[in-house]
């Protein structure tokens, strides 16, 4: 990588003399991954600090484009993302307060950009290669977008009448307005992607065989998601009984998909939802809108451990949904063919399962019955493979197995999103779709055409004020209850306005700012240590280096005769800039470090 050379920006060099440069040094890449936890947590690698900084500058369009570089659906994810970034946000670490509302700010960029905003795309010249994508959900759309930018001819085959997959058929309109969905899908696919809806892959009549795709295209990407509802495991007489024929039994995913296909859904007065994810919550909220008088979500563990946001739980409760914990369904009760209740067993909390979920341990002899007239089963989704007609290797969960290059066991057939990973989140699907698109491109072209580097930009002065640390998290305004419950399409979250967005954006620590002390110029006066609001400036003997070349553990000392350097611990640093302002010899420098991609 001889073409990427840093300029002589030694710490302490006056900012005016420093220059922006690109680095592929693993220490710099490692630094960003360690120190910008929100970006690292985002499966799509969204450059969060930069887009939030652009909101502070009221450059909403630019902020939207920054988002779009990593995630082609910012307006959608700004509404329905599961927010893995926020649980890692440094502002939410113990003692620092609440995490920044990163997701709401993403929506701000989408909502407040100018009408007629110009979209920026980095187009490559045509390659003459053809790629078929099966499934127009988030993984398929993200992959199609990137592959089309890279110059390939892309055709998406979608069995439903409209594109969007789970976004359109699995998420209710009150969380994701369809005009937002339509606009962003259109923007993602407008660069020549052919969308063939109502086109089902399979070997039946009117279906398109996989063999035909393999014949007509250079590569095929399977992104059909997890579109089969998982069955409810019951015990005793109910263990092997088919539930679908029982009046009052619905499967959550089918319930939502049918509703979004236009089927009129009806629920009873007393609805029980079994499950703990977004689908369960969505089903419960839909049931409340369909007129159910009592809607209860039954979960195996407790509210604290379910993988949905606290805001979603709160809004569901506002709408009258109740959550009852520590129970697992073991049977049903019925009169004739009509459901009358659910038999549960009481649980206690156990240890932790792989993946960070809490275990529930049933307590023998603690069975009890909760009456209900509708049960909506939303305990998960599975992949469907019977359309393939091509034998692909599957893993133990029935998901298709792929190699490092994203390819299945069949040459030229790739897979992405939930179809590979099992039911996950939209942002995971988008991120995986993009990753696999890059691998397909490398396979088609015989080489990688883009690689990751760090752009390092000198910053003249701190971009934050200490007072920003005390701004509370701004709350999302929501529609009044009577308005939102009138129909299923009234959006509940109204979005932050310009003023709220500005306040919220100021809370971001801008973790991509790297503060460094030039040891050669430091006079060890301790002025920076005196003003530091946290234990963020340390006397060190040295610094360990990790296997990947990034800086690791600081070897702290309190003995002056052992001090090798005064070191800013960027993990503790909240980028308040107090040290920079206090330094009498200006030996502290600030640089903005952001991951980006360049052509190889």
């Amino acid at each position: 990588m001889g073409d990427i050379k840093p300029p002589s920006n030694a710490p302490g060099t006056p900012a005016a003399e420093q220059r922006e440069y690109l680095s592929d040094d693993p220490r710099d890449i490692g630094w960003v991954k360690q120190n910008v936890p929100c970006q690292t947590a985002c499966p799509a690698g969204t450059n969060v600090p930069v887009y939030i900084r652009e909101i502070i500058e009221r450059q909403f369009g630019r902020s939207y484009e920054t988002n779009r570089e990593a995630n082609v659906l910012p307006g959608i994810l700004g509404r329905i993302c599961s927010r893995p970034c926020e649980s890692q946000c440094r502002h939410g670490w113990p003692g620092n307060g609440e995490p920044v509302a990163i997701c709401h700010l993403k929506r701000v960029a989408a909502d407040l950009k100018d009408a007629g905003h110009r979209i920026t795309e980095r187009l490559y010249s045509p390659t003459g290669k053809r790629v078929a994508i099966v499934g127009a959900g988030p993984a398929g759309v993200a992959a199609a977008h990137d592959l089309s930018l890279l110059g390939h001819d892309v055709v998406i085959f979608e069995r439903e009448e409209r594109a969007g997959g789970m976004l359109r058929y699995g998420i209710p309109e009150f969380r994701l307005p369809r005009d937002t969905l339509d606009i962003e899908l259109h923007n993602a696919l407008r660069l020549g992607v052919q969308m063939r809806t109502g086109a089902e892959i399979g070997n039946g009549e009117g279906q398109i065989p996989m063999a035909k795709l393999e014949q007509d295209f250079d590569a095929v990407l399977l992104a059909t998601g997890c579109m089969a509802a998982s069955p409810l495991p019951l015990q005793g007489d109910w263990e092997k009984r088919e539930l679908r024929g029982l009046e009052g039994v619905e499967y959550g995913l089918d319930f939502l998909v049918q509703m979004h296909r236009g089927v009129k859904k009806v629920v009873g007065k007393r609805v029980a939802v079994v499950g703990a994810g977004f689908t369960a919550l969505d089903c419960a909220r839909v049931a409340a809108r369909l007129g159910a008088q009592e809607v209860t979500i039954h979960i195996r563990t407790a509210e604290e451990y379910i993988p949905v946001t606290q805001e979603e739980i709160f809004e569901a409760k506002r709408e009258g949904v109740r959550i009852k914990g520590l129970r697992t369904p073991v049977g049903l009760t019925a009169e004739g063919n009509r459901l009358t209740g659910i038999e549960f067993v009481q649980n206690r909390l156990g240890g932790w399962r792989a993946g960070g979920r809490r275990q529930a341990i049933p307590i023998e002899g603690s069975e009890f019955i909760e009456p209900c007239d509708t049960i909506i089963i939303a305990i998960g989704q599975q992949t469907v493979n019977d359309f393939l007609g091509t034998r692909l290797e599957l893993d133990r969960w029935g998901n298709v197995r792929v190699g490092e290059d994203g390819m299945t066991s069949h040459k030229g057939i790739f897979a992405a999103g939930d179809y590979v990973n099992g039911a996950s989140t939209v942002i995971q699907a988008v991120g995986h779709g993009r990753q696999v698109a890059k691998r397909i491109d490398a396979w088609l072209m015989g080489r990688e055409r883009r690689k990751q580097v760090v752009r390092i930009v000198p910053v003249e002065q701190p971009l934050r004020e200490r007072a920003f640390d005390f701004i509370p998290r701004q709350h999302m305004p929501t529609a009044p209850l009577d308005e939102r419950m009138k129909d299923g399409a009234h959006e509940v979250e109204l979005g932050l306005d310009d003023k709220l967005a500005f306040e919220e954006a100021k809370r971001c620590y801008l973790c991509n700012l790297r503060y460094q002390i030039d040891v050669d110029r430091c006079i060890f006066c301790r002025a920076c240590i005196e003003v530091a609001p946290r234990n963020c400036i340390k006397l060190v003997r040295g610094v360990e280096v990790n296997d990947d070349g990034a800086y690791g553990k600081l070897l702290e000392t309190k003995e002056w005769n052992q001090v090798g350097a005064i070191w800013i611990d960027n993990n503790e640093c909240i980028r308040c800039g107090q040290c920079f302002k206090a330094c009498p010899v200006q030996c502290i420098s600030i640089s903005r470090c952001e991951l980006t991609e360049v052509e190889v």
Binding site: P94, G95, E303, K317, L326, Q346, L349, G365, D482
Partner: protein, 349 residues
């Protein structure tokens, strides 16, 4: 000096009935130990069952204290008032207060009680309601309700109905907007409910069933010259009053325990010996859900006698005991021979 090093530090979070009783028992059983109570309250322990007295003209905080300050000094119980716990690290046995101070403990008893629950659908109207869970809130409510004024009581848990008795007795008008939480924490069968509502009416409380009016649509502030509050129902009917007071039961105060390593469902989950899943951490009172072998589930136990007994039991188990929880309070709601409602939760010493 050696002895001082071995002195254990017992910390109690909460200075209510459970916390105060626990501190007393801890001191009795371990005379050399450090005992610290952390409380959000600016007052020393007072009995919230006394709070309705504010409507009888008792407003001086000193009248409400269970013990004078000397009591704590003499017993070497360190009460730190106005202390908000921000977090508990069970593995490091450290409590972090909101102002970042860290307190080490050897054993911790969480007796932080519960705060008045307001159903999420009414949360946006919180600023227009007058809760009644603390001395300060009680005095504020008493100050806004004029003599013979009209109180609209939402929910009607047993804490609220206790206040309603006083309000009726002091010639205030009380309208109860009844719903699922009426009579909480008593579990009332559907066929019992009409009789109990009739008993309330017999006591002078006007009752409106929220469900009959389609539920509450909004709570509004009255314009100048009109009643201070309006409760609007979904069927278009409305109620005017001087104050709206929510009584929907209690919600355990456990937020600061999230991430502590202890199991939480709605409250802190404890075994019959009141031990949480965190090493050295116990819970007592309205904040904990106790495993009941009889019911095969975790459940709350309410009432002054139960809560005090829990505080005592937790302290005994902290100091070497291993006794299981046995409820000490009758939980049956009944109607007396004068046709009035009587609840064991209204009885206290």
């Amino acid at each position: 000096m050696t002895k001082a090093k071995n002195v254990r530090h017992h910390v109690v979070i909460g200075s209510g009935v459970a916390g105060s009783q626990a501190a007393e028992t801890l001191r009795d059983r371990e005379p050399d130990a450090r005992v610290t109570i952390l409380t959000l309250s600016s007052l020393l322990f007072y009995n919230r069952y006394d709070l309705p007295k504010v409507f009888r003209g008792h407003r001086d905080w000193r009248e409400f204290l269970a013990y004078p300050a000397d009591y704590y000094r003499d017993r070497r119980i360190d009460v730190r008032r106005c202390s908000r716990v921000a977090g508990v690290d069970g593995s490091r046995r450290t409590i972090t207060l909101e102002h970042k101070e860290e307190i080490r403990f050897d054993t911790l008893l969480v007796a932080s009680g519960g705060r008045g629950y307001i159903p999420e659908e009414l949360a946006e109207f919180r600023p227009l309601m007058h809760p009644f869970a603390s001395y300060t809130e009680a005095v504020t409510a008493a100050n806004v309700v004029p003599d013979r004024g009209h109180v609209i009581m939402l929910g009607g848990d047993m804490i609220g109905l206790d206040l309603a008795r006083t309000l009726v007795d002091t010639r205030h008008r009380v309208t109860l907007v009844a719903g699922p939480q009426t009579f909480w924490p008593h579990e009332v069968a559907e066929d019992e409910r009409p009789g109990l509502i009739a008993a309330l009416e017999n006591m002078g409380v006007e009752v409106v069933e929220a469900a009959d009016a389609g539920g509450i649509a909004s709570i509004e502030q009255g314009a100048k010259g009109l009643s201070a509050r309006r409760v609007l129902f979904k069927d278009g009917t409305e109620l005017y009053g001087d104050a709206v007071m929510p009584f929907f039961g209690l919600s355990p105060s456990v937020e600061f325990m999230l991430g502590s390593g202890t199991d939480i469902e709605r409250g802190l989950l404890v075994n019959p010996a009141l031990r949480t899943t965190g090493e050295g951490i116990y819970a007592a009172g309205d904040v904990c859900q106790i495993w009941s072998d009889a019911d095969k589930r975790y459940r709350f136990f309410y009432g002054w006698k139960n809560v005090r007994a829990m505080g005592d039991l937790a302290a005994r188990n902290i100091t070497g005991g291993d006794d299981p929880w046995v409820p000490v309070q009758d939980e049956k709601l009944h109607i007396d021979d004068q046709g009035k409602l009587q609840s064991p939760f209204w009885e206290y010493e």
